[in-house]
């Protein structure tokens, strides 16, 4: 029978009087900046996000400009490469670095947009189910179960084939399919807080249900939901890449990393950079998001239990 109590809880109970008047943001920032995985993930993500944001200024060429005379030029580190096209050109002579940068916009943009839509849908459903319980919970849980029974990729493929792929369609589709984790997490978290004394106190003060949900419970869900958001954004990015790879997502000539991988398939053996560069980029992006999510989960402890 070994019982260990954490050093943290022991030291807080003894050293409470020494805590300076730090705001919650400062403390969260300190913990946030603490983990190594978190820092790496955040750094990578920041680089990619910046590249995506500043693409119009960073890209040396127009990503849509074709120059068939200069097609399939290898990147600068190969013997036949040149600094004119740092990452070479693709089959239609379009500058690869520019396509990569603009592709970051598409991938990240779609990921974030789909994540936001899924987040709103899922959180609303989960919070309502968790707070009201009873019939509302039964109905919503049924919907969640139905959604969980669906294979997301197949449904996305089928819908996309039916409607036709485009950036807008992909965002909407993914947003309507990826909300399940938000719903489950927010539902269980809301169920926990529903019985907390501060919620009872707010009700005793005359707070309406709407007030309590929005201003008392929701802020307490933010750390859990942030972690879910990072996971689902990564999920959305990978799904979009899959859809585009299969020709059912973003349509050419829009640069999407998934599409670039598809286009590079035919040239895999002799011009490997066409498929490798976007592939590595995708892997790095997903890795960064997952590191960030893990790190946030670790940093997301409640504001000290004294």
């Amino acid at each position: 029978m070994t019982v260990q109590i954490s050093a943290a809880s022991a030291s807080t109970s003894a050293g409470l009087a020494a805590l300076p008047n730090e705001s919650a943001w400062r403390r969260r920032w300190r913990r946030f900046a603490g983990g190594r995985g978190l820092r790496l993930g955040a750094l990578l993500l920041a680089v990619i996000a910046l590249a995506a944001l500043l693409a119009p200024w960073l890209a040396p060429h127009d990503p849509y400009a074709q120059d068939v005379a200069h097609r399939l030029i290898p990147p600068v580190w190969s013997s036949k490469g040149s600094w004119l096209h740092v990452l070479g050109t693709d089959k239609l002579g379009r500058d690869y670095l520019s396509r990569l940068l603009y592709g970051a916009r598409v991938s990240l943009g779609i990921g974030l947009a789909a994540g936001a839509i899924a987040g709103v849908i899922g959180t609303t459903m989960g919070v309502l189910a968790g707070y009201f319980g009873g019939r509302v919970d039964a109905v919503i849980s049924y919907v969640i179960t139905t959604r969980l029974a669906m294979p997301v990729i197949l449904v996305a493929l089928a819908m996309s084939a039916l409607i036709g792929g485009s950036v807008r369609v992909v965002i909407l589709l993914l947003g309507l399919l990826l909300w399940d984790r938000f719903a489950v997490v927010s539902r269980s978290a809301t169920q926990q807080f529903r019985h907390a004394d501060f919620v009872s106190a707010a009700r005793a003060l005359g707070g309406s249900d709407a007030y309590i949900l929005l201003r008392e419970i929701l802020p307490n869900l933010s750390s859990a939901l942030t972690v879910v958001m990072t996971l689902e954004v990564a999920h959305a990015i990978l799904l979009e890449a899959t859809l585009s790879f299969l020709g059912l997502g973003v349509q050419p000539p829009t640069p999407s990393w998934g599409l670039m991988v598809a286009e590079g398939k035919a040239y895999m053996f002799f011009q490997p950079w066409i498929i490798m560069i976007p592939g590595i980029a995708l892997a790095v992006l997903v890795l960064a998001i997952n590191l960030l999510g893990d790190g946030l989960r670790d940093a997301a402890a409640p504001e000290g239990r004294g």
Partner: protein, 332 residues
């Protein structure tokens, strides 16, 4: 020196985000065989840390040191983790506060009781079961043989605590450390459990270190009391003397802020101790109580001396030491 447990200058330090927390700062105490010593103090005073330090169950990051840490002739400081495991549950047992979490919900009561014995003694399953039934009955658990097959969640809080007590006694330990064993129980159940602990202690001759914050409980069960504040023992005395003549200002403050029937006029203001417990980060110089003490003076910034003010009555206080010296000088 027939002390079962002899502790000198016990210190426990924990690394924290703000600095090192000195949770226990130089504890001196002894426990005689068969004696009930109550360690009383409020939250953060270090009493739980002390019990963990004695059992060798401190968190890995903690640093324990002592000039003397002897249990039944064995120097605990030199024992390996394996040797400590052999000691725990065998000659030194512990009872925790929360019986729901200290009993494993996945195993039956009988399983846990028998394991407690068979871990340390070459007993057969039948022998272990017999002893388990015997101890459960002594602990006041009705239908003991049937209880062996039950799981912890099927028992009430009071029953679970009785099971914990029986488990602690399986190997006939010479010392039991009980960390707030009745705090989570209803008042009527608490009285029954305390009575049980007292009876079993007398019957088996076990020494008990009883940790609590409840001065009412201490008054009724203790033989001797050690009052802890901010990681130190500020006063040790036989129970009668502590309540009749509390000498340390903290003890006095503590006793006077409890409403007592017949003594405190109803509706009156209670004599609360002003201020808050000081931080234990990076240690404290001098007396930890001086910023809340009405009798504080300049000399309190130095480590206060330990003075004896009665048989077995030791106080760590500058004011008391001065007062005693004055009385001695005036009678000379």
């Amino acid at each position: 020196m027939d002390a079962l447990l002899d502790v000198r200058n016990l210190r426990v330090e924990l690394p924290g985000s703000q600095g090192t927390v000195h949770a226990v700062r130089g504890l001196d105490f002894q426990v005689k065989r068969g004696e009930m010593l109550c360690l009383v103090g409020e939250s953060g005073c270090g009493k739980s840390m002390t019990s963990l330090a004695l059992m060798g169950l401190l968190p890995r990051a903690a640093v324990r040191s002592a000039d003397r840490l002897e249990f039944d002739g064995v120097d605990l400081r030199g024992l390996s983790p394996r040797q400590m495991q052999d000691l725990r549950g065998n000659r030194m047992a512990m009872i925790f506060q929360e019986p729901m979490t200290s009993l494993n919900p996945a195993y039956t009561v009988g399983n846990q009781l028998c394991e407690a014995l068979r871990r340390h003694r070459p007993a057969t399953r039948a022998q272990a079961r017999d002893r388990a039934v015997y101890l459960l009955e002594r602990a006041g658990v009705p239908h003991a043989p049937e209880r062996l097959r039950q799981y912890p969640h099927q028992l009430s809080g009071g029953l679970r605590q009785r099971v914990m007590i029986a488990m602690a006694l399986m190997c006939e330990p010479s010392l039991i450390i009980a960390d707030e064993p009745t705090t989570a129980l209803d008042v009527t159940i608490q009285a029954q459990i305390l009575r049980l602990i007292r009876e079993l202690q007398t019957e088996f001759g076990t020494a008990v270190v009883f940790i609590t914050h409840d001065l009412g409980v201490v008054a009724r069960i203790a033989d001797r009391v050690a009052v802890m504040y901010a990681g130190e023992i500020v006063e040790t005395a036989p129970v009668g003397q502590l309540y009749a003549q509390p000498s340390h200002p903290y003890t006095q403050g503590l006793l006077s802020c409890i409403p007592v029937r017949g003594r405190t006029p109803p509706g009156s203001r209670l004599a609360a101790i002003p201020g808050v417990v000081p931080s234990l980060v990076d240690g404290i110089d001098g007396c930890a109580f001086r910023n809340r003490c009405a009798q504080a003076r300049a000399a309190c910034a130095q480590t206060p001396p330990q003075v004896a003010c009665g048989t077995g009555h030791i106080v760590r206080c500058v004011a008391v030491s001065r007062a005693l010296r004055e009385t001695r000088e005036s009678t000379v």
